[in-house]
Symmetry: none
Amino acid sequence: MTEPLNVEQAAARLREADHVLILCHKNPDGDTIGCGSALYHALTAMGKTAAVLCVDPVPRRLCYTRPRLFRGEFEPGLVVAVDVAGTQLFGDTGLMPSYSRRVDLCIDHHAGNNGYAQYTLLDPTAAATAELLCDVIEAMGVELDTQMADCLYTGLATDTGCFRFSNTTARTHRVAARLMEAGARVEELNTLLFSTKTRGQMEAERMAQSHLEYALEDRCALIWLSQDEIEASQADPADLEELTALPIGIEGVRVGLTFRQQPSGSWRISIRTTRDVNAVAIARRLGGGGHLRAAGCELLGTLDNVKSAVLTEVQAVLEAPEETVCRES
Amino acid sequence: MTEPLNVEQAAARLREADHVLILCHKNPDGDTIGCGSALYHALTAMGKTAAVLCVDPVPRRLCYTRPRLFRGEFEPGLVVAVDVAGTQLFGDTGLMPSYSRRVDLCIDHHAGNNGYAQYTLLDPTAAATAELLCDVIEAMGVELDTQMADCLYTGLATDTGCFRFSNTTARTHRVAARLMEAGARVEELNTLLFSTKTRGQMEAERMAQSHLEYALEDRCALIWLSQDEIEASQADPADLEELTALPIGIEGVRVGLTFRQQPSGSWRISIRTTRDVNAVAIARRLGGGGHLRAAGCELLGTLDNVKSAVLTEVQAVLEAPEETVCRES
């Protein structure tokens, strides 16, 4: 089993090491990339050699974090994983499998971390791994510069929905204050990460909103977009994910549904629920899956038939108390 | 002219007073209501009599701030305005005109505050008046309780778009941390303030979005709502403030305009800009005022005339480099 470390001990291991390989999780988000990059910049500032490895490319929107990507050019003296809760999250392509099985140090905030590394610095009360890594970098004796602060702020802000989600604590805000004092360009980052939609997204949103309807005594709200509309909007289909927050964000609505027609003609249905309704129970009745509050399925048929099939199952779950109630951990 | 006070001096005046009347601005937002309510609760906790006066009702969504509303039941010993930059913002109905002309103390964060009060505590570096009032209440010797913390958090979070806007500083985050430690129920408040829309808001947003247009080579985006539409939407007019984030949130747009027709028929125009464009320079050319990135004005005329007048000034500012560039402190 893994040996738990505190911030000082983790910092000491990093101070003593050189040729540090930093591993991020697959489908990388702002926290794993922000932390990987911040640690890379901190180690470089100490004169060490370091690089970051991730099976997927750094998302375009996060390119400003500027990590050096590992291409096998050195033999790692220390392998560190940041924000990776379990080995299955590394992915298994390219160089990754050679290193993901011998992780020396893991720095993480996921309560479910399964202790795969030799040493683990785990703090599940941290809103983001970045919140924890900020302390580690300072304990390494590195003064935060603008670049590191930008990277850490990225992790902190993306994992908390810009300080909106329930994981945000007083410490999260104090770390944000330190990062701002270290020069984090929060104005640009917030705009980039949270406030900017493409014209295509706006157009798709406008069309989806024009189809807004309520059902089941207003406990359910739904929006939809046909394939023709998605094409006409010129939105990147990946950017339509945000639409799913729209119907569930309406006061009094307990189940929010978003129907997006796929190029094949079938309908992809996203199910979002308030904390007293089990989204995955609805999805499973329709052959889909997901999480307690966010789930989905895909159905063939005309919009009217698909709507009616989905609403039947929503009603069944709303009216079956044992399935309705979410037992969240 | 007004006499400037510091936090200690303002707190001393409040400590010495009794029968305090607190004035909020018309079309009240989270900062003026949050501050009015927080100050009311703080004074009450000291055993004083206090009440809040606003020409408009407290928005339903902010009712949890629970201010006692003034109905003329005492003769004020001290009249305090919170978050009110000029006398025109008090409104002139009901009891207001009897008090708005004799304001003893003004606590505000608007750089354009015109010094109408006998004494003024002004800090334009504060993201919200709540950020400043938090210090004042502590200097009054009152320990923040959950109710006051909720009210102050409301002001802080709404004026910064939940710590997203450029007015957010390290101090803003530190104040948020103090408010969380004092018991502010940020999870519920964030859901209520930022993740939930009423059906009326959704309907108003749908209508505004259907009027989305681009101007000045797409550097400007604008939306509008007529008074008939606002009424048809059944949205609380106070809840329409969020619409103003919509046009400026579009990729590539440098000036976002929101036109809302008032019951009088005039048009209230909200101007939002990216960091390289001076919103208040545009507003001032139209007889309005505000901040560098968020300003506004009110104009009479048909929609077409008003649009054209505003776009002329937007163009002038976009093309006058010296006015365009914001020199933010």
